[in-house]
Symmetry: none
DNA sequence: AGACCAAGTTAAGCATCCTTAAAAATAAAG
DNA sequence: CTTTATTTTTAAGGATGCTTAACTTGGTCT
């Protein structure tokens, strides 16, 4: 296994490169990792020697295939842990990030696979980010639309909630809305642009403001949590 | 938080000192931690400077009060993780030790308390070892005897297995012996000091060596796991 | 007691990952 | 196109935690 530092560098390169294999400036990594520029330059050379990044002096770093593989494994561990801590242990959104940040570096394949199994092979983490599978493949992202742009009569899956203010979260949680809840759009009222939705057998009304912060995906587009 | 190395040294001192605050030879620690004697001497000095152990050259180390506190916290994390991995995630005895060995060093109080809560405040880990509570207090232990000191004809509960080598664990697991299994002592053979036990309807023979590592408690003496 | 052996300690050095400060390369401006 | 400013890299050094090799110390044997 690679050192915690190396894993964090690779993860940060992955995030900074925005998916594609762009080159990332060492200074950008230094900012994100909160270390000196000198430290990132040195690490860039080491990771390059190890074949995990492409690095040419003054040109930034980009992940190689094997580097990306490791970054995706770290990401997988992070996102599965976050989901697990929230779903199974009842921790709050605010608490889980730092915890997962540490656990992601000391979790064997065996353990993370058990966690994945226990969560019934989720595809997305509590923030709606995709969880790489055992081979490092990312699931297809559903097309997300804010709930106020949904079509009355159609059925959707709650896929993402932006703005993590506890007020909003508590409000929608109290209505029985959770990530991956199945909902049906009853109707949309013109006069206040609110949306009425059906969850299970209950119908609730969502204000315009609330409905803008909840994103849904079409049912067929989504296999399972 | 203290470094992983420091936590491991303190834990090892605790285990080696056998509960009471005896002095432990640095060479004994070196053996258990699989590092050189030089490394333990140096660490002894550092831990002593930090007030975590009593250390006089050539006289070994012993935990101070604050050192023992840390050791017990590490122990608490280790044992709760082991139990959690087995009970909640369905991992095997053989798998959990190494896993817990890593997790114990990157688990916040918040998380370990959640785990404790989820397990409904267990008192003993999967090996029958006591789990320190949040204040570092150990629960009262049931009276344990090694199986080779049991009385033929009597019935007991498997309460503890020492030596966590996967070989031993796998062996006894394959015989159907688990923590809290009820067993009956069939007889004890003088010529090789082996013990024959009955589990369910099967009778198995345990060598002297194996029988020394399995501890049982009398049937009425046992509250819960 | 004196000599000897084993246990324990110090010394020197290495790997990792970080720092600050100086030097070099690139980019920008006149 | 040269000078300046900015970014990036190298150099030197520190902390941690380990190694091997040499040296003390303590205990034992005669």
């Amino acid at each position: 296994m690679h050192s915690i530092s190396k894993e964090n560098y690779l993860k940060t390169v992955y995030h900074s490169a925005g998916g594609s294999g762009e080159q990332v400036a060492t200074s950008k990594l230094a900012d994100k990792l909160e270390v000196s520029n000198a430290a990132t330059s040195e690490m860039a050379r080491k990771l390059s020697d190890a074949g995990l990044v492409n690095y040419a002096r003054y040109k930034g770093v980009g992940l190689t295939e094997s580097g990306e593989k490791i970054a995706l494994q770290v990401l997988r561990r992070h996102r599965l842990w976050e989901l697990f801590l929230i779903e199974i242990l009842g921790m709050s959104w605010g608490e889980v990030h730092d915890e997962a940040e540490r656990l992601e570096h000391c979790t064997s394949d065996t353990l993370i696979n058990k966690i994945e199994e226990h969560l019934e092979f989720p595809k997305f983490d509590p923030h709606g980010s995709p969880i790489p599978d055992r081979e490092g493949n990312l699931p297809a992202m559903p097309t997300l639309i804010p709930i106020n742009q949904s079509v009355a009569g159609d059925t959707y899956i709650i896929s993402k909630v932006v703005d993590q203010s506890s007020e909003l979260i508590n409000h929608i949680t109290s209505l029985g809305i959770h990530l991956n809840s199945k909902i049906m759009i009853v109707d949309k009222l013109d006069f206040d642009e609110s949306v009425r939705i059906k969850i299970g057998n209950e119908v609730h009304s969502l204000s315009k403001k609330v409905s803008e912060h909840i994103f849904v995906s079409e049912l067929n587009n989504q296999d399972k949590i």
